[in-house]
């Protein structure tokens, strides 16, 4: 199957005077439609890697390809629309816009691309609300929802533009085990239904075990790559 994400010889070094190398010669490919997890100790470089995949950060050296196109050489403008159209982000801290309601937050990535929301997209937003079980609170402001509800809103928002890739950094990091289970189910469901590629950073062993592929990062290197 085609590689939708490809990292080639990625190095990441922080700092000018005191240099800290965080990633060492990372070579990694992800199949389209696969459901992957990244695990590893705190500070091992997981988030750095995910942010480089997501074009939010740039590698110090090496090449990044999304759907076969090189991204580390693109300008800010091009990256912004690439992110908007092909990627959905779910962060550990939900990062909803507190000035907007749940549904408005979910529609935001669409509006960034096109302010006018057609009927089918509006219905898709309602469908997503249904999928993550938030129909009742769709008109709540972000801060008027529980942590789990906010996280599920963020998941729905990541899906609104039907991206090919979803990058999630500890999406269940601060949820209880029931909610964690629930969020995981939703992600898996989406993966199966829409063939969306998932890369999920997690500390939760039980979640990792349910994914198709587990990558363990240790001290900035791929320590283990386990495919089922």
């Amino acid at each position: 199957m085609a590689d939708i994400i490809r990292l080639k010889d990625i190095n990441k070094i922080y700092g000018d005077k005191i240099k800290t190398q965080v990633l060492f010669d990372i070579n990694l490919n992800f199949d389209a439609g696969s459901f992957n997890s990244i695990i590893g100790e705190s500070g091992s470089g997981k988030s750095t890697m995910l942010n480089i995949i997501g074009t939010l950060d740039k590698p110090t050296s090496g090449e990044v390809y999304i759907s076969g196109d090189r991204t580390d050489t693109l300008d800010k403008q091009a990256l912004a629309s690439l992110r908007n159209q092909t990627m959905g982000f779910i962060f550990q801290f939900h990062y909803l816009l507190p000035e907007f309601t749940a549904k408005e937050n979910i529609l935001m990535p669409y509006k960034i691309h096109d302010y006018h929301v057609p009927k089918d997209v509006d219905e898709w937003a309602d469908e997503l609300l249904q999928l993550v079980g938030l129909t009742k609170v769709s008109k709540n402001l972000a801060n008027d929802m529980s942590g789990g509800q906010q996280q599920r809103t963020a998941i729905a928002r990541a899906l609104i533009n039907r991206p090919k890739i979803i990058l999630a950094d500890e999406p269940t990091g601060n949820l209880d085990s029931d909610s964690t289970e629930n969020v995981y189910k939703i992600l898996r469901d989406i993966n199966e239904r829409y063939k969306t590629t998932f890369v999920i950073i997690t500390h939760d062993q039980r979640i990792a075990e349910k994914t198709d592929r587990i990558i363990e990062v240790k001290d900035g290197r791929i320590h283990l790559d386990f495919k089922r």
């Binding site: 939010l56 403008q77 912004a80 962060f91 909803l96 816009l97 000035e99 960034i112």
Partner: protein
């Protein structure tokens, strides 16, 4: 673009306290600026009006040895065609004479006008506090001070001695008060014929006087009049050349008024700019996530430009309202004993519109720094630092 606008609106709505504070700041600035500007303008117009409102603003005077103008009808005609801004044209026959009364003899100035026209410049009729204007030959009106000193009443006859020794009796038809004591003391006002008779100048006049629509254009109008005039041996004067001191005083006042206004606006601008810059920091999380989701840098900065624009418009509207309120209360409460305002304030629509537009532009300019901050914000900083 529209997204930036709707996000800006939402940011303003959700930070109500801050929004109200900035809008108040802008509107106080606009109100003060408007108030000071209108007050100074009112003062100046008032000053100019009292100084030159009831006097000729341009005069044609003879330079020949007889000090008379023969062909004054031609002068009138040429003045009329030289500029549309010339109004209240009038000829005058002036000359010194003596007022002989019971106990003494006083020097006076005989001033003969075609009274209908002279009245338009000097406002004789309005100044009359007793009697009426002369309607035929050998009638005159005199001023309050002169009347009191000589104990003259309406319908009294007075004795005027011409510089050549001839004496003429004039009937006083009215007493005036033109609020200038030197005029009230010395001017004996008659119709043209009477004055020409007393002064022995036949059908000639000693000056042509006029006013203009735009008082501050008087020098230019006078210049073009001088160019048009074909009469020999006359010169054209205007009030501006004769009141340099007043003009430089007015100028100094205008400059300091503009300085005050500019400083008020600069203070407002700095205020808005700093509050908006703070709000970029406050919203950096939101901006970071919007950027991660792919909002363009241009739209990210437009959010703040739109905030500046909306704050500016709101502030301008409120400020103008507040400014008018100040002006109205000032004209209502700061009044003379007779109930007229101390400074009659002239509302200049152009000036009001200008201060509004200026406030809006200031607010938008103030938003440029925060807009830049917003454009340069890197989402990774926000994402990493929670």
């Amino acid at each position: 673009m529209r997204l930036a606008f709707s996000i800006a609106l939402r940011f303003l709505k959700s930070g109500k306290g801050q929004t109200i504070l900035i809008v108040l700041g802008i509107s106080v600035g606009v109100a003060v600026q408007l108030f000071i500007g209108s007050l100074i303008q009112g003062l100046q117009i008032n000053l100019v009006n009292t100084t030159i409102g009831n006097s000729p603003q341009i005069t044609i005077t003879p330079t020949n040895t007889e000090k008379t103008i023969k062909d004054w009808e031609r002068a009138l005609y040429e003045a009329k065609i030289s500029s549309n801004d010339i109004i209240n044209l009038s000829v005058a026959a002036d000359g010194p004479a003596s007022f002989d009364y019971e106990s003494d003899i006083d020097p006076v100035l005989i001033r003969g006008f075609e009274l209908k026209n002279g009245n338009k410049i000097y406002g004789f009729e309005e100044g009359l506090y007793s009697g009426q204007l002369p309607s035929r030959k050998d009638e005159a009106i005199i001023g309050r001070e002169l009347a009191e000193k000589t104990e003259t009443n309406v319908n009294d006859k007075i004795l005027i001695v011409s510089p050549f020794g001839g004496a003429i009796r004039l009937t006083v038809t009215g007493l005036y008060d033109l609020k200038v004591s030197s005029i009230n003391e010395t001017w004996v006002i008659t119709n043209l014929e009477t004055a020409q008779d007393i002064l022995g100048i036949g059908n000639q006049v000693t000056g042509v006087e006029m006013q203009v629509n735009e008082v501050f254009e008087a020098d230019k109008i006078a210049k073009s009049l001088a160019y048009t005039l074909s009469l020999p041996e006359v010169k054209v004067d205007n009030w501006k050349d004769q009141n340099q001191q007043l003009l430089s005083g007015l100028n100094g006042q205008s400059v300091s008024s503009i300085m005050i206004q500019v400083f008020v606006l600069v203070a407002v601008l700095l205020g808005i700019s700093s509050v908006l810059a703070i709000s970029v920091v406050q919203r950096s999380k939101q901006l970071g996530i919007l950027k991660a989701m792919g909002i363009k840098d241009r739209d990210a900065s437009l959010i703040f430009v739109f905030q500046g624009l909306m704050l500016g418009i709101l502030g301008a509207i409120l400020g103008i309202t507040l400014g008018f309120g100040l002006l109205i209360s000032f004209t209502t409460f700061a009044v003379n004993p007779d109930g007229t305002p101390v400074v009659p304030i002239y509302i200049n629509n152009g000036f009001v519109a200008l201060s509004g537009v200026f406030a809006i532009i200031s607010a938008m300019t103030a938003s440029l720094i925060p807009a830049r901050l917003s454009s340069n914000l890197n989402p990774i900083e926000v994402i990493k630092n929670g």
